[in-house]
């Protein structure tokens, strides 16, 4: 019996201590603001809507939804998305909302799982959102694709897999450049660097594998020698892959993987003395990755990315400043790109002049030359919004903007 | 229920020159037993004489090193345990092996599983048939329980029954398959005198119903009371056999036992204590 009480006290204590201290470190990472919002609204859509309406003194509230990976294996990603989107919404509301009515953000967590993503999408649709931001992963985007099509809700994913463009789903927009662009740009830049033999480290999931096929295609087309080594998410030791590359005698390496694996790659490539030029997936330009690497690890690496913090693009600079003011940290590409996506959605609603989902979708399709931190949004026939990406080089732990590549 | 067979002096279980070696140590050394039909045959001997090993060899739980086991003339050496059981050999265990989370009735019915031939898939859809089958099994189990005088306890959970009851219930479970032969591994160990008397009664009744018993026992009063024929093991070797009278007067047996009488008592105490732990 006593044991059982020990148990109950332990676990309740656990839960509460978290409830208690969850807040104060969270503010440093700035996550409390956002989840607080859905806390009210997800409980029962209408009441909270009424409350919000009362607050604005205007008849209706425009609801938009966010599917982010708050929990699960890559919570950071979800948190940054959340912050970016929240900021876009707040700015819109601060500017008097859309046609006088306030915008309300409903955040739902998919644990980076397909089925939960679909559940979340259904939940948001049920709450009557006009548009949905997220989910982030391409796989999750493909999972929700059918649902949002059926319900006819404009959805903005950041999944970069080329496969998404082939879905032919009018309601699924992409607020980041496709790997068709990313990876090809990376390969193209490698060629520019004068490489003969490209080696590719790719994460064997939707993200890496998708890019790998693109790069391979490019190399075949441009007569570059090509070799690739895959790894799984969560691997911690890449010696075999790197040694294989060394033996293959590649002169340029392209890495396409997630933050954690990227950092370890950087270290091991340096330690194992694979001294070649490196072009990397966007991760390397992100602060959290750079922080995990020693200067010498990534010095001189190139990264293709949609967001370069040091770019002097006015929209970006403005975004950066206000983000720092709001959350006390630097934004990175998840925050930036989903901020852009949200802006596009809000513009769409504004242009549509109504909250009719179809009208909004049509309006978003008309988006053209809309300036956002990560470039200019122009919707093409594949519902891809971003067509330009940037190449940056790391110089003493700072990504320096080199050039912007636009692919038509 | 098994009906009485007319008593012929044919051998039911014949064990010829079986030997079991656990690497180096010889547990059973070239023992031969010839058990006649419809008898109660006791196997006695001091601790470590290899009695339980014998049972495990007969039931195929342990592989023989050498020798031969025949049952009703059929060679069952090296058969799988469940096949040996299907030949018509039942068994109880020294440290009871029952199903504590099931009721007494269910415990006994498990013993009759093989009596119900219907397959799983058929059982799903043939509701009537399976219900009839189940009823037959149930009635049989109830009959057995009545026979061993535990009918009123049938719906109690096994783990809530006293040790003695659980032990006797194993005999009931064994009877469900109508075996010609039931091996009792120290049935009286850990039973108090009244329970022991009950046990003797149950065994004897069953004997009258035509069951034959091959019994390992320490408890002399039980053995002498009910067994027709006794084989005595000591350190894996057979030192004597014969009717209770002959064995009692066999001085080698007496020597083997006098040396270890106190051990006997300790042993009995142990099993009481054990019964409290389990």
């Amino acid at each position: 019996m006593l044991k059982k009480w020990a148990a109950i006290t332990l676990s309740t204590l656990m839960a509460f201590s978290l409830a208690a201290c969850g807040g104060q470190p969270a503010t440093t990472s700035g996550s409390t603001a956002a989840p607080a919002a859905p806390a009210g609204s997800t409980a029962t859509g209408d009441t909270s809507a009424a409350a919000a309406a009362a607050a604005t003194g205007n008849g209706e509230v425009i609801k938009i939804g966010l599917i982010a990976m708050m929990t699960g294996d890559n919570p950071l990603n979800g948190e940054r998305m959340n912050q970016g989107v929240q900021m876009a919404v707040d700015e819109c509301n601060a500017a008097g909302g859309i046609n006088g009515s306030q915008v309300e953000l409903i955040v739902v967590d998919d644990q980076t799982l397909q089925d939960v993503a679909v559940t979340s999408a259904n939940k948001l649709i049920g709450e009557g959102v006009v548009g949905i931001i997220g989910p982030h992963r391409s796989t999750n985007a493909m999972a929700v694709e059918a649902v949002v099509k059926q319900a006819g809700v404009a959805t903005f994913t950041g999944g970069t897999s080329p496969a998404i463009s082939t879905l032919g789903n009018d309601y699924l927009f992409r607020c980041r450049a496709s790997d068709g662009i990313f990876a090809e740009a990376a390969a193209a830049y490698a060629k520019e660097l004068g490489c003969k033999k490209v080696g590719v480290f790719f994460n064997n999931d939707d993200f890496g594998a998708g890019a790998e096929t693109v790069i391979k295609q490019y190399c075949v087309d441009n007569g570059l020698e090509y070799t690739a080594e895959g790894h799984n998410t969560g691997d911690k030791d890449f010696t075999p892959q790197i040694m294989k590359m060394k033996d293959a005698g590649v002169d340029t390496v392209i890495i396409w993987t997630h933050d954690a694996e990227l950092a370890i790659h950087a270290r091991q490539i340096y330690e194992l003395g694979l001294a070649v030029q490196v072009v990397s997936s966007p991760g390397v330009t992100m602060q959290q990755v750079i922080d995990m690497c020693k200067e010498e690890y990534i010095e001189g690496w190139y990264g293709v990315t949609d967001y370069v913090s040091t770019s002097d693009e006015p929209t970006l600079v403005a975004f950066k400043e206000s983000f720092q003011v709001k959350y006390g940290i630097d934004p990175e590409l998840y925050a930036a790109s989903y901020y852009g996506g949200t802006v596009a959605l809000l513009e769409g609603i504004k242009a549509a002049g109504s909250t009719d989902r179809k009208a909004v979708m049509e309006a978003v399709k008309q988006v053209k030359d809309l300036k956002v931190p990560i470039g200019t949004l122009t919707c093409d026939e594949n519902n891809d919004l971003i067509h330009n990406i940037n190449v940056a080089q790391i110089e003493n732990k700072v990504p320096r903007f080199i050039q912007s590549v636009t692919v038509e | 229920m098994r009906k009485v067979v007319n008593k012929r002096m044919e051998s039911l279980l014949r064990v010829t020159e079986i030997t079991k070696k656990f690497q180096g140590l010889v547990a059973v050394d070239n023992v031969s037993i010839d058990m006649k039909e419809h008898t109660i045959h006791a196997l006695i001997g001091p601790n470590g004489a290899g009695k339980t090993t014998m049972v495990n060899l007969i039931t195929g739980v342990l592989p023989l090193t050498s020798g031969k086991v025949e049952f009703e003339g059929r060679d069952i050496t090296g058969m799988a345990t469940h096949n040996i059981a299907r030949q018509g050999i039942g068994r109880t265990f020294q440290n009871i092996k029952v199903f504590p989370t099931m009721t007494l009735l269910e415990n006994v019915m498990v013993g009759g599983h093989e009596q119900a031939p219907m397959g799983m898939v058929k059982g799903i859809f043939d509701i009537k048939g399976s219900r009839k089958e189940e009823r037959r099994l149930k009635e049989k189990a109830e009959a057995v329980l009545t026979r061993i005088g535990m009918y009123d306890l049938r719906n109690h959970l096994m783990k809530n029954l006293p040790y003695g009851r659980q032990k006797i219930s194993e005999i009931g479970r064994a009877m469900m398959n109508d075996p010609q032969l039931i091996l009792l591994d120290e049935p009286a160990a850990g039973l108090n005198p009244s329970e022991r008397a009950e046990l003797v009664e149950v065994i004897y009744k069953a004997y009258e119903d035509g069951y034959s018993f091959f019994m390992i026992e320490h408890n002399m009063d039980v053995v002498m009371k009910i067994s027709d024929y006794i084989t005595v093991l000591s350190f894996g070797r057979m030192i004597a056999e014969g009717t209770p009278g002959e064995v009692q007067s066999n001085e080698e047996v007496i020597r083997a036992y006098l040396g270890s009488r106190y051990v006997e008592q300790d042993k009995r105490r142990d099993s009481y204590v054990k019964s409290e732990w389990n």
Partner: protein
């Protein structure tokens, strides 16, 4: 036991209730949750035979589920035949898995078995992810056709719901029949004491394999349903967490209780969604609830009340009751 007491008309009543449920639900989101519950019920019904009745820890359910989903999905994709045939392939796959997993279960016991099954699950997932030629790899399989009868397609959540309700009813009926028959009894007795069962002339090897086969058939069928329901499957779904969740459902419903599986699946599928209003904390709260459940109501939450009652009663009667049992 619990199972035996449930008369058939309860089941019918529940079914009727379930059939009327959609009329009170307008929101697709809740319909979807219900569909997920139905699918999970089938998996857990199967798992109940291995983990609940035979008492062997199986943490490879995700692997079984995945193989079911993929065999059906890929079959329909490559042959372009009806999903119903996909269901058949799934069942065949289930039989194979049952044998494949059953034999190890004869050799390894307890925690070793749980490690083996974990290994099985992981290997399945990694193999699916790393054979893109056949399975589409980590990109997953897209536009899997929904079930249909003749030209009638089961598209909306409601239609799916009624279809799956039928599936689940059938599955439940089978599971219930088996668990209440001599087979259920044998499975239980195997959990408690295999030697004794063997000595009653029962071939325990074939029994264990039977248990695993039934379980994996249930698992693969549910997998197939999942695939044709979602329309898109991807290996990363079928990870150890999924297997864990199924065991949790079983635990919440009560090990060995067939009817409990309904409750368990419902709770574990819906509770996290209900807790979403906790925002950042909903996962941790959910896990804590389950953990406390495991510690305090080992026989499932349904039994919690009865257990409580018993305790009080025994206090009063000063009876000595071995809590939890062996």
């Amino acid at each position: 036991m619990k199972i035996k007491l449930k008369p058939l008309h309860y089941a019918i009543a529940t079914l009727a209730l379930a059939a009327f449920l959609p009329f009170f639900i307008t929101n697709d989101y809740y319909m979807m949750l219900l569909n997920r519950v139905l699918i999970n019920i089938i998996v857990v019904l199967g798992l109940n035979f291995i983990t609940g009745l035979t008492g062997q820890m199986n943490l490879g359910t995700a692997g079984i589920f995945a193989l079911g989903a993929y065999s059906s999905a890929l079959f329909t994709k490559y042959t372009n035949l009806s999903p119903w045939l996909g269901l058949v392939t799934a069942i065949i796959m289930g039989v194979l898995i049952g044998r494949g997993l059953g034999y190890p279960s004869l050799r390894v016991k307890g925690v070793y078995l749980s490690l083996t099954t974990i290994g099985f699950g992981e290997v399945v997932r990694l193999l699916i992810a790393n054979t893109p030629k056949l399975t589409g790899g980590t990109q997953g399989v897209r536009n899997i056709r929904p079930y249909h009868i003749g030209s009638y397609q089961f598209q909306t959540q409601k239609e799916m719901y009624y279809l799956f309700l039928v599936f689940t009813a059938i599955a439940f009926f089978c599971a219930w029949r088996i668990a209440c028959s001599k087979w259920g009894r044998i499975f239980k007795s195997l959990r408690d004491n295999a030697e004794a069962v063997e000595m009653s002339g029962v071939d325990i090897a074939s029994c264990k394999i039977k248990a695993f086969t039934v379980a994996s058939i249930f698992g693969t069928v549910a997998g197939a349903m999942y695939a044709h329901y979602m329309g898109y499957i991807n290996p990363s779904t079928f990870n150890l967490d999924l297997s864990t969740n199924y065991v949790i459902m079983l635990m919440v419903g009560g090990l060995g209780s067939v009817t409990g599986t309904i409750f368990g699946s419902a709770v574990v599928t819906i509770l996290p969604e209900m807790l979403r209003f906790l925002g950042n904390y909903y996962q941790i709260v959910f896990c804590s609830i389950i953990l406390l459940g495991a510690i305090f109501f080992p026989d499932g939450w349904v039994s919690a009340v009865t257990v409580l009652f018993k305790k009080v009663y025994q206090r009063a009667a000063k009876g000595h009751y071995a809590e939890g049992g062996e």
